[in-house]
């Protein structure tokens, strides 16, 4: 009973935190990963100057899992405290009942210039519930100076990455840098680990999946066993055990302070590792994630965030106008240049100023357009459970508590149990 009160307490705290101090016309929730919040506020300022309305910007938890819980509580309470939500690419299906159809509030053809795949993803039963703001796919950051120093090529397979990481880590440690590691990624038991692990699995020949497009459970496959066994071998070898509690920002902390050779992260980190304060400025480059073996293929999981308007908003038209402004060509260009956020407009990937600021937008264009989706559409409301079961299993395997075979067998049973609830 007591625990039933805790969510209520969190909810009150959350509502208390987001209640505007001064009466603003709109409230917008933004992520606060890296420089995200500052960029968001700058964009909002421009809209305010243009329209004369005022907007309250609230920051949300960095962990996507926690952010979703917060949103669901606010939306289920039918609260009008937040008008515009920044939502993950896997959430439109789940949150659709609480969001307005933007088609009714935006001019015709508002989505014409955007990536079609993302617009489709955000269209639920013919209703456009969110506008694509920025897209994402996992990429590999590497220290070009160190690869040169040890005369190594950029690895194209996970096996190659493991080897290169071992070589450089051993060399750097001999040179007295005892806290140097080969590879950091997102290993905490949260949505980010689902993304990381799906990237490993999907990169093996024929691409392993968790649940296929027909809704069949496919996770107990040979590719997954191979991928997870290899990854489990990284812990304490080329990755610190602490990686099991890292999210994006913890991984960036290690990499940006110069203590890691490779990092898996989203494109947002580019602007930060290349910033003036960064200790590794101009010694970093970005490549597609490695493939699983010689016959495999690189697989970055599709991420990205969209802007949606709450059904409980008091000013849906004004909110839709803010969404249209923030996702416009100019605003996306500014965000791409200043924060290396991937635009959702194909045209911007040919823009000279954007490419000068973030060269890999050009070279990795295919990675972004052919990113691997998570099984959110097919599992629907059950996606959080599926993802949770998956990342917990992967976490157990990485921790060394179970072998990859055992873990995936258990996961297969667990998912069958979930599937009884139909997805």
């Amino acid at each position: 009973m007591k625990s039933g009160l805790i969510p209520a307490g969190c909810l009150l705290a959350a509502i208390g935190a987001v209640s505007p101090v001064t009466a603003a016309d709109l409230t917008l929730s933004c992520g606060a990963v890296g420089a995200e919040l500052q960029l968001c506020q700058a964009g909002v300022k421009r809209w305010e100057a243009q329209t004369g309305h005022s907007v309250e910007v609230v920051s949300t938890p960095n962990s996507a899992t926690e952010r979703l819980s917060l949103y669901q509580q606010i939306l289920n309470a039918r609260s009008s405290d937040i008008d515009v939500f920044q939502i993950d690419v896997v959430w439109p299906g789940m949150l659709a009942p609480h969001l307005i159809d933007l088609n009714e509030h935006l001019p015709d053809g508002a989505t014409d210039d955007f990536f079609e795949a993302i617009v489709d993803n955000n269209t639920v039963d013919g209703r456009l519930v969110a506008m694509p703001w920025f897209t994402d796919a996992g990429v590999l950051y590497y220290r070009s100076d160190l690869l040169d120093k040890y005369d190594l090529e950029v690895p194209t397979t996970w096996e190659g990455l493991t080897e290169a990481a071992q070589t450089v880590q051993a060399g750097e440690r001999e040179a007295g840098r005892s806290d140097f590691w080969g590879y950091v990624f997102q290993g905490r038991a949260y949505e980010g680990l689902t993304v990381n692990a799906l990237e490993w699995i999907a990169s093996y020949p024929d691409g392993g999946t968790i649940v296929d497009d027909d809704g069949d459970i496919t996770v107990n496959n040979a590719q997954a066993v191979e991928a997870l066994s290899l990854a489990a071998g990284w812990i304490d070898n080329i990755s610190p055990r602490g990686v099991l509690n890292y999210t994006e920002e913890e991984a960036r902390g290690v990499f940006q302070s110069g203590n890691a050779l490779f990092m898996r992260n989203w494109p947002y980190a580019w602007d930060l590792v290349q910033s003036e304060q960064s200790g590794i400025r101009d010694r970093v480059e970005v490549a597609p994630l490695p493939a699983g073996g010689e016959d495999g293929q690189s697989a970055g999981v599709l991420g990205g965030w969209n802007l949606a308007v709450s059904r409980y908003s008091d000013h849906p038209d004004m909110a839709a106008d803010l969404v249209a402004f923030l996702t416009s060509f100019d605003e996306q260009k500014r965000r791409a240049i200043e924060g290396s956020y991937n635009p959702t407009l194909p045209a911007l990937y040919q823009d000279d100023e954007v490419l000068a600021a973030v060269p890999f937008f050009g070279t990795l264009y295919d990675t972004f357009t052919s990113a691997v989706p998570r099984p959110a559409a097919v599992t629907g409301d059950n996606y959080p459970r599926v993802s949770n079961a998956f990342f917990n299993t992967v976490h157990e395997v990485l921790s060394g508590n179970v072998s990859a075979e055992q873990g995936l067998e258990q996961l297969d049973r667990e998912l069958s149990r979930l599937k009884r609830r139909r997805w």
């Binding site: 625990s3 009160l5 969510p7 289920n76 610190p240 055990r241 509690n245 409301d381 921790s399 009884r420």
Partner: protein
Amino acid sequence: MATDEQGIAQARHEASSDDTPPRGRGTRVRRQRVRAAWLFLAPMLIVLTAVAGWPLVRTFWFSLTDASLSSLDGAQFIGFDNYLVFDDGWYGILADPLWWQSVWNTLYFTLVSVSLEAVLGVIVALVLNAHFRGRTLVRAAMLIPWAIPTVVSAKIWAWMLNDQFGIINHLLLTIGLIDAPLSWTADASLSMWAVIMVDVWKATPFVALLVLAALQMLPNDCYEAAKVDGIHPAKVFFRVTLPLITPALLVAVIFRALDALRVFDVIYVLTSNAASTMTMSIYARQQLVEFQDVGYGSAASTLLFMIIALVTVIYLYLGRRQLGGEQ
């Protein structure tokens, strides 16, 4: 004792006089007393029913349905399916290994952290009970961990325990106790101890405060007598001080035990949903909030309530002597 027996005798006398028509003065007085007692109890009972009984009953009712957070109204009655159901294998909470791990984690956390807090709390209280300069200042300082909101202190500890930048690893490395940084909150074998350590740090002042209050009420003559007889201080502690402060200590321990059994914040901030430190509260929250499954989550909350009630009953039964029950 003597007055008790007199009371009982009187009550028997009154009971026997009930056989005669209800004219006796004692009967009427007694009835009035009973009526007055109910009258005085009524506000508390009404409030308790409203704030504790109603949510409890409602949670239990939800646990028998398939309600989800987004559609509470559309809930269907499904009996005890959330608890246990056979359908090509056992399903439900009672068949979920993660639930049983959460139960075990919670009991383990409670036993270890409360024991440590009790022992350390008594030691701290004894120190603070001694006369020394600046005692008031130290007493105030001791309360700081208890005064900081748990989420804040847990976040502070999360940074101190960080595997790469944390000060704890830095200190341990500098004095040579470890030769590689430990990942306190990520390593399954360490994370339980990390959260226990933070909880002990936080809650020891609470136990110390209650024990200190008891210590200050102790009669001086026992100690003077012990001094005259030349008894060893350790023996004085175990034979005089400890028995006298036991009632206060038991109250402190039950408060702490109840808190620890439904622990949520400190663990959620430090290790999130990790299975190695998942407690019953974290399990219930995950079902309720993250998975939106009010039915299943309520079933977990109901079980959590029953387990806490059971532990409390056992504890009160075992401690009934010191807690002022039967003599």
